[in-house]
Subunit: 358 residues, 2 copies
Amino acid sequence: MNPIAEMVQGPVGWLRNQGPEGDRILSTRIRLARNVVGTRFCGRAIDAELAALGDQIEHSSLLLPEFAEGSAVQISKLPILDRQFLLERHLISHDLTAEVGSRGLVWARDESRSVMINEEDHVRIQVLMPGFQVETAYAAAREVDEKLRVNLPFAYDESLGYLTACPTNVGTGLRASVLIHLPALVLTQRIKKILKGVTQVGLTVRGFYGEGTEVMGNFFQVSNQVTLGETEAETLKKLDRVVRQILDWEKKAENTLLSDAELQIEDKILRALGTLKYSRLLGSGEVIGLLSAARFGSTLGMKNVPPVPVLNDVLLRCQPAHLQRLAGREMVAEERNAFRAEWIQKNLGVSDVPRREV
Amino acid sequence: MNPIAEMVQGPVGWLRNQGPEGDRILSTRIRLARNVVGTRFCGRAIDAELAALGDQIEHSSLLLPEFAEGSAVQISKLPILDRQFLLERHLISHDLTAEVGSRGLVWARDESRSVMINEEDHVRIQVLMPGFQVETAYAAAREVDEKLRVNLPFAYDESLGYLTACPTNVGTGLRASVLIHLPALVLTQRIKKILKGVTQVGLTVRGFYGEGTEVMGNFFQVSNQVTLGETEAETLKKLDRVVRQILDWEKKAENTLLSDAELQIEDKILRALGTLKYSRLLGSGEVIGLLSAARFGSTLGMKNVPPVPVLNDVLLRCQPAHLQRLAGREMVAEERNAFRAEWIQKNLGVSDVPRREV
């Protein structure tokens, strides 16, 4: 079976459980950027060089126990829909969907570990874990890193650290991010001030799909900015500390909302749930907002709200390429929106949605 | 038991069944204005005169088989909440809720027949029937009229007809109205032109609560304008003909919508249904729009939509005075909106609405 066809059917392996602080934190992501000595950076190399190195990286990766039941593809050989699917799955970058030549991906069956090959850097090791587990995710990434370097000599400078194509990654080559859901801070309008503070301590905040994307559904991606002049341990510790602080503020804002405007908040959440369960057409942007509201209801302890793991799964799998891949065909927006509504209602266990008798 | 307390509990008797064309026509109403010879019009009489006549009208009415299990009240002795309740029930006029002195109401147990006493005219006979049945409703009103005149000499002029306090009612004293639901003509934006045509043939169109009230939920009250120079039969025939024409246009507009925008229409209806079933706070204006959409779904043959008699009952009984009378206390708007949402969900048979565990 085509590995992507298999992914289309089932839930996302690493996202099956909620993880620590899973009510408010969707996922933790670690990325390590590495380049291999003896081959020019991807932007400078000719494709023959990249092809040779790509084969070597793919082969080395597939030897690791992490990728024992894993898969490998060459991105440029994939249909565009499959590339968009991998992007929505957070396994490849937006840039990679458009690239030609020897660009590849190796990933574990549960998608918790992956290696992007010849994107901006020769090697990008990625670990995805549910909830808030910066240390654990980093340890897993480091393990892949240690094992890969046995066969692949990574470019490392004693004073600078790891050498990368873009200067912003030189040093640790580490990007650690946490995808956090902050509806209470948004509703109490405290979010702007808090994000400003986060930026001032050297972290960055991005939208749902990473760099340069819009914030949707009150999901914020908080990650380190600095890779040079601090150790991995320092980077992780700072991120951990700041995220715990944000979580505290979010919980306080929840309490404020519940004591000042409980009915209004419940009403907002329930209406979103009603729309999710009943509408006939659901747009990809709108649905993120609705799922965000439902998630907030679950966090606040409302009964009969779909559990967070179900909401996480639906959030990821109701994206455009996912739905088209599932339907087995390209669909225009309206057709997709109808398919999405039906798919979501099936996955939320709704069985009594009225339909016209034909 | 206080007759109003009894009405608060159960469904509205005359509205239990849908009646002819009940998908698109909520109700038919006939009103006959009469005055009694020997007593001055209400606006000119002193209260002692009205009190004496009022007793006589009440007594005469209660003798009729139509009111055998009926009730009678003196409006000014009722608490304001009960007066608003009777107004919402379409049994008294807005003016009557504020009047002092000897103003009364006699009504049959199922509320299909009633007599307003000393409102603008001494006697206002009213018949309410479900669906579209102008002839039947008129015959029922006429029967009350014939029986009452045995004891009450109604002022009648050979050339003018019945004499009434306001010149606009002189002649037949008849107001025949049909409350019609026209969502398809509203959505296809044909309604304005049609209402203009209706006005040109001597009929009037009013909102949900009668004269001078706003159109809500796509409900239009179509009634005769003219009472002088045409017979009752002519008035009824014209109303019947015009309403049948409007019904035809509405059905054509429904077909247009279903062939041009079926998904969008279904989506609109289902979202309204989701909001009805899930929200925690429902305003009195908003709910009419939502029930209108649900009703449209039922008309279009959607499965699992609450049946029209349930929607009719909910529409009438979710009004502010109804809810407060049911709760047994006055409530501020937010409290009312929470009570309304819960009451509607109970009546629509929704049992799985998420709530916070306390």
